[in-house]
Each structure stands twice: as C-alpha cells, then as structure tokens.
C-alpha cells in the first residue's frame, strides 16, 4: 500500500495528463514508441528492462496504459504484466503486449498473465496508438 514517502495520488481522481509506460529493450523501437506517444501528448516513461519495470510499478503512480515487449532482460513482459495485475494501484491499467510470436498458444499465455491486448511485432504504430486510446478510454491531447 502507498507509504508516506511519496505523494499519494488518490485512485479515484484521473491522472493529470495521460501517461504511458513503455518497456522495450531494443533501443530503436523504444525510441520510436517513445516519440510516437510523446507527440500525441502522453507523458511517456521508457524503460529498457523487466527489472526496472518491476521497480517502477512498485514505486510510481499508475500510468494510463502500459506497452510491454515480451522478451526483456531480467524479467519478461509477462512477469511484468502479472506484477501490474497484482499491484493494488496498477491493477486496472490496460496492458498491451508486443510479441514476435503470435501463435494462439502464445496469445493465450499473454492473456492468462493479464494482458489486455496482444500485438504482433513488427507492429503498426497507428494501430498501437488506437489500441492504447481505446483501452484507456480515449486519453491523449
């Protein structure tokens, strides 16, 4: 539960501006997704490995949505998804999982971990944007 160390954002109030957490270890894709969402008015946090993501989820206020690559160093995207679902503050955050493998069994695994949507890599930037907008209830500038 939130402690006294950081400013507590009440769960009922909407976040000041739409924010997004992107976790991707490939620097090119990470930079691209970061720029995509920044241009659309999201406060964007880009992290490069699963461990940093887990730490972020434990410490920071929830974002409007999260985009996670599956193959991440230290803790994969599905583990981060599970952590998000298990955290009291982040539990309702929509999660889009990016995966190079799209066989039904992989999609099933992602959904069981708690992913809201699974998107294939290589991905369509506008589709990703639309999915995030749709899942987070129409945020954005």
């Amino acid at each position: 539960m939130p402690g006294g160390r950081r400013t507590v954002v009440p769960m009922t109030a909407p976040p000041p501006s739409p924010s997004i957490l992107v976790v991707e270890d490939d620097p090119t894709i990470a930079g691209l997704v970061g720029m995509l969402f920044r241009k659309e008015g999201f406060a964007t946090t880009v992290l490069r490995d699963g461990r940093a993501a887990l730490a972020h989820v434990a410490r920071e206020a929830p974002a409007s949505a999260a985009i996670l690559d599956v193959m991440l160093p230290y803790a994969d995207g599905l583990a981060v998804t599970q952590a998000i679902r298990a955290d009291a503050r982040w539990a309702g955050v929509p999660v889009v999982v990016l995966s190079a493998r799209t066989a039904p069994v992989d999609q099933e695994r992602a959904r069981q971990a708690g992913a809201s949507e699974v998107m294939a890599k290589p991905f369509h930037p506008q589709q990703l944007l639309a999915a995030v907008r749709r899942l987070s209830g129409g945020g954005g500038a």
Partner: protein
C-alpha cells in the same frame, strides 16, 4: 663426453625445445589470425534483430551440480532467460551434501515426476526425478554421487532433444550464447560438437546471472589467468579448429549431438578430465572408423566463469587439469600417429603430448639444471641469462598476439590502463607464475604416474561475485 659438453648440449636442447614450442604456437596463431576475419564475417548478421523461424532444433541444457546451494538458483534463473525458441533444462543433483536440492525445490516449486527414465548410458542409481511446477521445461534428477561425468551421463539419459548443451552450474551465459553456439550444427549434419569462448567473470559486474559490465579482474592472480584464457581460446582453439583437430571443448560450455554422445559411450567416469577425454575419443572413434565428422570452435558465443583467486584453489585446479590431460591422452593413445589419425593424430596429439603433457618436466629440469650448472661453475651465467631472455621474449610475443586477437574480435577493453594491466600480468606470469604452475603440473604427472585415485578438489564458492539478488 665431458660434463661440460653435456651441459652445453643440454642448453642447446632447452633452447631448441623453447623455440620449437613457440613455433608450434605461432603456427596456431597465424591460422587464428587468418581465420578470425572469416569468423567476424559470419557474425555480420548480428546487427539486426534475430528472427527465429521455429525450425531451430530444440536443445537440452545439461547442468551437473554438486554442492552448489549458494549459486544454483541464480544460475538457473538466468538459464531460463536464454533467447532460444525451444529448449529444456535438466539439472542433476549429484548427491550433494549441502542444501542444493532443497534450494531447487523451494525456488522452482519442484514436484516429483514419474519419468519413464531410459538408461542409454549406465550411471550410479537415480533416486528421484522432479519437474518444476511453473517451468515445465525444467527437470531435476536427484542421484547418488558419481562425479561430474556420471551426472552428465544421467542428464543425457533424460534429455529429449537432439542437441545437448553442457554447462557448469556456475557458468554465466549471455542471452544469445545458445543461439550462437548452435549455428555450426544447424546446416551441417557432420558437425557433432561445438565449443564457445570462456572468459573470466572475476572483474565483471554480474547481476542476477548476467554480466552487465566487463572489466579486468582486480587481483594479479586473476589477471594472469585472463591472459592464459585469451591465449588458450583465441589461438589455442581458433588455431586447431579449422584443421578439425580441436581436442578440447570446455565442460563449462559446449554443444553436442545427443546421438553422437550416446554412441560414443557417454562421458568416461574413470577420468578426471571428462570434457577433454570425450572430445579426444570422438576424434579417435570417427577417424579410425573413417566416419565424416567435424568438431568446431566458434569464438562468437560467450560463457563467463570464475577463476580461482587463491593459490590453494588454483593449485588443485591445475593439478586436476594436468591429470585430466594425461588421462585423456592415455585413454585414447591409439589415435597418436595412427594411419587414419589425420590432423588430430599427427599434429594435435603430438603437440599436446610434447608441449603440454611433458612440458613441465622439460621446463623445470631446464631451470634446475641451468641454475645448478652455474652454481657449480660448469656454465657461465650469460648462457642462462640469454636463455631466459629468449624464453621471456617469445612468451611475451605469444601473449601479446593473444591481446591483438582479442582486440580484433571482442575488443572488450577500452581504456589504456586495462592494456597496461594486462602487459603487467604478462610480465608477472613469466616471473614466477609459470614456474609455479609448472611445478604443480609436475606433481600432477607424478600423481598420475603413480595412479593415485583423484578426488575432485573442492572449489570454494564465493557468492560475493554473483551480485546481490533483489
């Protein structure tokens, strides 16, 4: 013949031996320099993200463990993260007397599993087989103590994939090590085994089973070993591999076709250097039967390991290695100068025998004789000094060429102080370290000769280098 003439002849002999030894290694060096361009070329595709087609052959990782309670969990967590489409892990608890098995059960939620265990290679009895509840690809075999070779054989029995990758419980791999080491076996069915590069983790920052930052070890003892490893791999292996005469694939990281391993009879339990013995045996069996095969070294895939930081542990390691070398050669002596022996029988084996196996005897007796001769007035100190200069110079040249190969391939060192430290290590190596290890290896030869049964020296586990687990 007068004593004097005998001494002089001996001096010429030692000079000749030193020159010959270095000529052989320079030849390997030249081959390595020639080949390294091709190896770097083969990795040109690494700049773009890997796409797996799904047709990659599945691999079983074989992880023998004895008294590894401090590090086994971290190791397995990192192995589970390897980037490869399809692989399974078989850990063998070789009758550990510490809490290795309990740690595994707790960390991974192991449950007993009614495995239909098939005995292709006989081993000491298996007590139970477990499977991890959350990771169906992880299985653990609990068996009575039988040694590393025995453990590997048990793991092979349980392996379901056509390829097996042997790793030590404390090997630290990179995420792409598995996909890189398997490359030679993908398209070429004659390749039966492949080895990768082992480098020292001693100075590196290791976090949760992966190397985050590469740096030189802090202690001079480890730095000297760093140079040794660079020599051993970057031209030791890279030199022999193109001739299909590679006699060693380290047990810390190597890949084999399971069928070839089983047909060869598995690992030999009566020997202490089981990794080398297997490879020499594969050469012998295939060459003598005229079966086409290849055993290769790929510099590209990396495995990091901890080198001994204390003289006691180093001593037991070097004695073990020398005994392993002698046992491997002795068990496969049929290969030496055999009609169908090819490069392994006519080049690699004799070189190993002459320079690695007998080397310590020649080296030490050379020094002892020289010093005695000077003291007794039979020889001028100038002669000994000149010999020293020659030996030092050649050794320095060989080691520096290993540094050059490193710069051409991995180029992990960026700062001048690191190169300076390595040069210092090279100097120190020749002023005492070599002599010390030669003495230990001589002891090993005597031990082997008297056929004393070996006990695998206990290597102190220092958990500190693994980094703190969060």
């Amino acid at each position: 013949m007068s004593v004097h003439a005998a001494l002089e002849a001996a001096q010429w002999f030692f000079l000749g031996y030193v020159v010959l030894l270095h000529l052989a290694y320079f030849a390997l060096d030249a081959i390595a320099l020639h080949v390294i361009g091709r190896e770097v070329e083969a990795t040109a595709g690494n700049v773009l993200p890997t796409a797996f087609s799904g047709l990659e052959p599945p691999i079983t990782l074989l992880v023998p463990a004895y008294n590894e309670e401090a590090t086994i969990a971290a190791s397995l967590w990192s192995l589970l993260q390897l980037e490869y489409p399809s692989f399974e892990i078989v850990v063998v608890n070789d009758g550990s007397r510490d809490r290795t098995l309990q740690v595994l059960v707790e960390e991974f939620g192991l449950e007993p599993f009614p495995e239909a265990y098939r005995i292709s290679i006989p081993t000491r009895p298996v007590r139970a087989i477990y499977r991890a509840a959350r990771f169906p690809t992880l299985r653990v075999i609990d068996k009575e103590n039988g040694g590393k070779a025995d453990a590997l054989n048990a793991a092979t029995n349980a392996a379901r994939c056509p390829l097996v990758c042997v790793v030590d419980a404390d090997s630290v791999l990179q995420r792409d090590s598995l996909q890189r080491i398997v490359r030679p076996l993908l398209g070429d069915p004659t390749v039966v085994a492949a080895g990768g590069t082992i480098r020292l983790a001693n100075g590196c920052r290791v976090s949760e089973g992966f190397v985050e930052k590469v740096d030189l070890p802090k202690s001079w003892l480890a730095r000297i070993q760093e140079v040794e490893y660079l020599r051993a791999f970057l031209f030791g292996r890279l030199g022999w591999s193109p001739m299909n005469a590679l006699l060693i694939i380290s047990g810390a990281f190597g890949v084999f076709r399971k069928q070839a391993l089983v047909e060869a009879g598995g690992y030999r339990t009566a020997t202490i250097g089981e990794d080398m013995e297997l490879v020499v045996r594969l050469h012998r069996q295939h060459r003598l039967a005229r079966r086409p095969y290849r055993i290769v070294y790929v510099p590209d895939p990396l495995c990091w390991t901890e080198a001994p930081e204390s003289l006691t542990v180093l001593r037991s390691q070097r004695i073990r290695w020398q005994r392993g070398l002698l046992e491997s050669l002795a068990a496969n002596r049929q290969l030496l100068f055999h009609r169908r022996g090819g490069a392994p029988g006519w080049l690699a084996f004799p070189v190993m025998l002459l320079f690695e196996a007998i080397g310590p005897v020649v080296e030490l007796s050379g020094w002892v004789l020289s010093v005695l001769a000077v003291l007794l007035g039979g020889l001028a100190w100038q002669a000994v000094a000149a010999l020293l200069v020659a030996a030092l110079g050649l050794s320095l040249l060989l080691s520096v060429s290993a540094l050059l190969l490193e710069e051409m391939s991995f180029h992990f060192y960026e700062r001048p102080r690191q190169s300076l430290a390595l040069l210092g290590a090279i100097a120190l190596e020749n002023l005492g370290y070599r002599q010390l290890t030669a003495w230990w290896r001589l002891l090993a030869i005597l031990q082997w000769a008297s056929r004393r049964k070996a006990r695998w020296g206990t290597m102190q586990r220092s958990a500190a280098w693994q980094g703190k687990k969060e």
